[in-house]
């Protein structure tokens, strides 16, 4: 290891220790990936996600000789505020250490293909949003790393855009420092297979995270939010309108490592046709993480009798004075609302669209209301 010149003994010692720790962690994660198996239905985290059909196909693609291929662009108005790199060691190491929800094997495969994507180091507040677009072909496995410096405010928008028959498997690591505020939204659109693993590390800032998936046959989303510092405020939102025979499989974890912090999740779906939505959300409050506030709500509106939902909320609370709530509900469209709109001359189809949009609007307006 190269020590910088003029480094104090204490500093050198601390640095060496940190590097040893990182090496151990990386070794551990390597072993984790070696032992991991491709998901199947026996894996509790993949019970409803149609792993037989979709995960297997995705794994085969990832192991094939197909090149990961796509176009990545980033738009930012204020150049000085953001340092952007296309490839980055930090990014790779962060990805190696990121938690999954039952998809270690898939993450291991992603790591082997790694090499496209952006690392954003946001060091000054920006007023305009930074827009990242990944446009994928047959197979694309990008990675995003976003780090927001202390006290900095930023807004990042990520668009993941597919084409018929295309597959994307993205990873995202988001780190928000003390006093920072990040609004970040992810939209995905038009894939055959789409999978995204996100890890949010909140070090005492405010994060509002929104996902919206559209027009894909299969979407698997894993979002793990980890709260490391008191005062952190983490909000997770998702709003999706599903039709056809599409499958949406969403898994979340709100992990409170320390107390005196808040996390709040609201995931809403409108389902039409034969669409299926699964939501499995976990709140974990570590021992000693007292005075935690953690909430979780999953709501579905069913426009068709053939649409199905599975909601699996879970709580594990190992601390005191914790305020937690979790709830889920699926209900058909409200007939009275529909009648009211139709009674003003709006055709049933339009009225249904308005009510469904209105149902999701609540998520979008809560996300938009959050200051960046």
């Amino acid at each position: 290891m190269d020590f910088p010149q003029n480094m104090s003994m204490e500093a050198a010692f601390a640095l060496a220790e940190a590097e040893a720790k990182l090496d151990a962690a990386l070794q551990e994660s390597r072993e984790r990936f070696e032992q991991a198996i491709i998901p199947n239905r026996l894996n509790e985290d993949w019970r409803f996600g149609r792993p037989h059909k979709y995960a297997t196909a995705l794994a085969e693609l990832l192991q094939s000789s197909l090149l990961s291929h796509g176009v990545a662009t980033v738009l930012h108005a204020e150049e000085a505020a953001v340092r952007i790199t296309a490839e980055d060691d930090d990014l790779r190491q962060t990805e190696m250490l990121m938690p999954t929800i039952g998809s270690d094997a898939m993450l291991g495969m992603h790591l082997k293909r790694f090499g496209q994507g952006y690392a954003l180091y946001i060091e000054e507040s920006t007023t305009e949003p930074i827009v990242i677009t990944y446009r994928g072909g047959e197979l694309y496995t990008p990675a995003t790393f976003i780090m927001v410096a202390p006290g900095v405010k930023a807004h990042v928008i990520e668009h993941h855009i597919g084409s018929p028959g295309s597959t994307m498997f993205a990873t995202r690591n988001i780190q928000v420092a003390e006093g920072a505020a990040l609004k970040v939204e992810l939209t995905s659109k038009g894939f055959e297979h789409y999978m995204c693993i996100t890890n949010i590390q909140n070090m005492g800032g405010k994060v509002s995270h929104l996902t919206a998936h559209e027009d894909s046959a299969w979407v698997r989303e894993e979002t793990v939010a980890e709260i490391y510092t008191a005062g952190a405020d983490t909000r997770l939102f998702s709003a999706n309108h599903l039709g056809g025979a599409s499958v949406l499989d969403q898994h979340t974890k709100q992990i409170h490592h320390v107390g005196e912090a808040t996390s709040d999740l609201l995931y809403k779906n409108v389902l039409d046709g034969k669409a299926t939505a699964t939501f499995a959300g976990n709140i974990y409050v570590a021992p000693g993480a007292h005075n935690t506030d953690a909430y979780q709500s999953n709501r579905n509106m069913l426009l068709s009798e053939n649409a199905t939902t599975n909601s699996l909320p879970g709580l594990e609370i190992l601390a005191d004075k914790v305020r937690c709530s979790h709830g889920s509900a699926s209900a058909p469209l409200d007939e009275e609302q529909l009648f009211y709109l139709c009674s003003r001359g709006i055709p049933q189809y339009e009225a249904q669209k308005l009510v469904a949009q209105g149902f999701l609007e609540d998520v979008l307006s809560r996300f938009n209301k959050d200051e960046q």
Binding site: E335, E336, Q337, F339, Y340, L341, C342, S343, R344, G345, I346, P347, Q348, E350, A351, L354, V355, Q357, G358, F359, L360, E361, D362, S365
Partner: protein, 249 residues
Amino acid sequence: MSLIIKNLCARVKDGADILNGINLEIPSGEVHAIMGPNGSGKSTLSKVLCGHPDYEVTGGSVSLDGQDLLAMSVDERSRAGLFLAFQYPVEVPGVTNANFMRAAMQARLPKGEDVDAVSFYKELRGRMKQLGMDTKFTARAVNEGFSGGEKKRNDILQMMMLQPSYAILDETDSGLDVDALRIVSDGVNAMRAPFRSFLVITHYKRLLDYIHPDVVHILSQGKIVKTGGFELVDHIENHGFDFLKTTKE
């Protein structure tokens, strides 16, 4: 031109009979009032006319300007000129008042034509002002969190925007404060025209003092049991509905 209801019978789907042979004819240009005890079927009549899915028509017919009203879907009835200001206007979360009204106006235009946004907002604002409504209500979700009186005004706003030829007001007066009652009545009176008629359902003389009806009907147990002029209103105000019992015995 008129709304003609003949021997209309309806029940709650798979439930009790509520309307037991209603006969009513409202020619264009007239204002009719319906009074009647709680639970006599006034709101049911108005909702059946609009095609509410909770009810099933078991007999009779309704013609609106010669068209078979009962054969039309809910939205077609509205576009044919029927309007109901609800006793309990419905909250529609997430849909703004402006978008709602715009969709309703859009539905009335021929295919390919779009609502002119500028004149639409101008008219909406103007009507709101007339009704003493704050323009911030355009951005709020339809009736969500509105006070009782605000909901009633919002329904009247919709009526003014849609300019129906047959408007039913189901207890629009209950929940309105004294000033609002006058404002709403003035609005209704201003809309009176030879080509438009009103069916006003109320429990109180006060509203009818403002909107002077041409004909007054008494509904009891799903039937029109008496039809007359304003003297019926005075009678009910002074003596209640006791006479219904005595006439039956």
